[in-house]
């Protein structure tokens, strides 16, 4: 579908920035990409196909996203690593009442602290994005990261 270039640019910026914030471990900035009542779900492809509701991570609103990150910072222990998100160009499916439905492929490569990299996962972001007015930043109303790699290697601690 045709989308005006300013809208497309704001969508692309949100997709790229949100990925880069995770890779740079700037998780406060990553959380700011979500609206207050935004959902964030990491969904195994098999549950999606079977229409089962359980995710790997399932946050129904931003308060719960914040709880996830708080636990990550203060309670959880995980494999020390760096993430690299490689994202495709977003594909805008529709635009309704200022909210764009967008699909973007992603791939995450994890690198450990001694410099060995492995493909961690691939999948598709199914996003609902409030595009906002010209000077405003676009924000996620909903982000569902559908994991093709749903047999998760080792563990999944940092957001996808």
């Amino acid at each position: 579908m045709s989308t005006d270039s300013g809208v497309k640019e704001r969508i692309e910026r949100l997709i790229v920035d949100s990925a880069m914030f995770i890779d740079r471990d700037e998780l406060d900035a990553w959380m700011d990409c979500f609206e207050q009542d935004a959902r964030y779900i990491v969904m195994p492809r098999e549950n999606r196909n079977l229409r089962l509701p359980v995710g790997i991570i399932h946050c129904e609103n931003k308060a719960r996203i914040e709880d996830r990150i708080l636990c990550l910072r203060h309670a959880n222990k995980y494999n020390p690593h760096f993430d690299r998100h490689i994202v495709s160009l977003p594909r805008v499916l529709s635009m309704e009442d200022g909210i764009a439905s967008v699909e973007t492929n992603f791939m995450i490569v994890q690198t450990n602290k001694t410099g060995e990299s492995r493909l961690f996962c691939v999948g598709v972001y199914e996003d609902k994005i409030r595009v906002g007015k010209e000077k405003e930043a676009a924000k996620f109303v909903e982000r569902i990261a559908v994991l093709d790699t749903f047999s998760v290697p080792t563990m999944l601690a940092t957001p996808v």
């Binding site: 996830r68 636990c71 563990m155």
Partner: protein, 423 residues
Amino acid sequence: MNSGKSGAGVDWERNDYSRLPFGLYHDPGIYRTEQEKIFRGPVWSVLGLEAEIPEPGDYRVTHIGDVPVVFNRDPGGGINAFVNRCAHRGAEIVREPYGNVQDFTCIYHAWCYTHRGDLVGVPFVKGVQGKGGMPADFDMGSHGLRKLRIATFNGLIFGTFSADTEPIEQYLGSMLVENVGEILGRPIRLLGYQRQRIYANWKMYMENVRDAYHASLLHEFNRTFGLSRLTQTSGGHMDERHRHAMLFQYKGSDGDTEAKKAYKDDRVQRSEYMTLNDSSLVQAVKENKSGVSTRIISIFPNGVVHQIANCLGMRRVRTRGPAELEIEFVLFGYADDDEAMTAHRVNQANMVGPAGLISMEDGEALELVQRATAPNPDGSAIIEMGGTGALMNLDTRVNEMPVRGFWSYYSELMGIEPAGAIR
């Protein structure tokens, strides 16, 4: 304590499994023997839940050890399981992980089997135009798939390769019959799957789910929100043969102040306790008689049934060689849950699985043991929390008894018990 030297080549050091030779995790010969004597031995392996195959024709693929097994519901409603390997040339027959079929047909030469695993179709068995075909004495009736014996208990499906495995309720013992029976005592509704692949030996995970001691030390979330603390009314109990175990606790049976002091005195707590925006994640709606808030019930050799607050699940563990395992978490609620209760269980599923707030660390901990012991498997682990010698049930989680229990039954089946072994 006897020296437990004569363990068919395994140097146990002691007869009570309080020393564990690291070589048992890594020896490829041990792994091959396990497949035969444990997984194809006189045990009931967890296959799945009846709720996974509700309709006639439904099937799902799982594994016993590293052998792919298909369990299914036949058109008459009966439950069956067979090894996913064509009797003809050994090809994998079922290629989709789940589905609903009229029959099972191998794509290679189109040999066709029923849900029970009986061979009912061999294309051109009599040849074409009088030429070729199978010899006249070829008997389809004796070339079915390798079938497993099946037992079910409250909707949980078990399979065994052995003709000698005892009846299922006797195998489980009274503690599991009571507790698994209660958790699966009502019709359930599947909520989803989570899978985790850990690059470590499978037995480390079966120890982990019997290790009452680590739960609040490794999993800081447990300690912080009082889901599991060593200061609570809790314990690690076993069946009479000590092969299965149940770790349990009662949330709210200790005070935050008392708990904080205990962990601070033992220099575990690193920082102040945090609080959540939304504490419903850690709240339990009471739904069992005793008010027990967590039960991790391990079923020898490959299964777990858990209740963590209102997060209910079954786990099946697949071996993938000596250095890799896969855990499949199958989460469920009850068929009569209302929308709010289902949402609560979906929210609490955040606690388990590969990204589980109280389980993700297990993946890392097991790989740490794998990495540090595989290159040089000399030496042994220490398993003494809760005491050495005879195995017994303790009402504390400062306790590794059920881990020794696992090894005692494992060694009996493997034929590697130390001299004068305790059981």
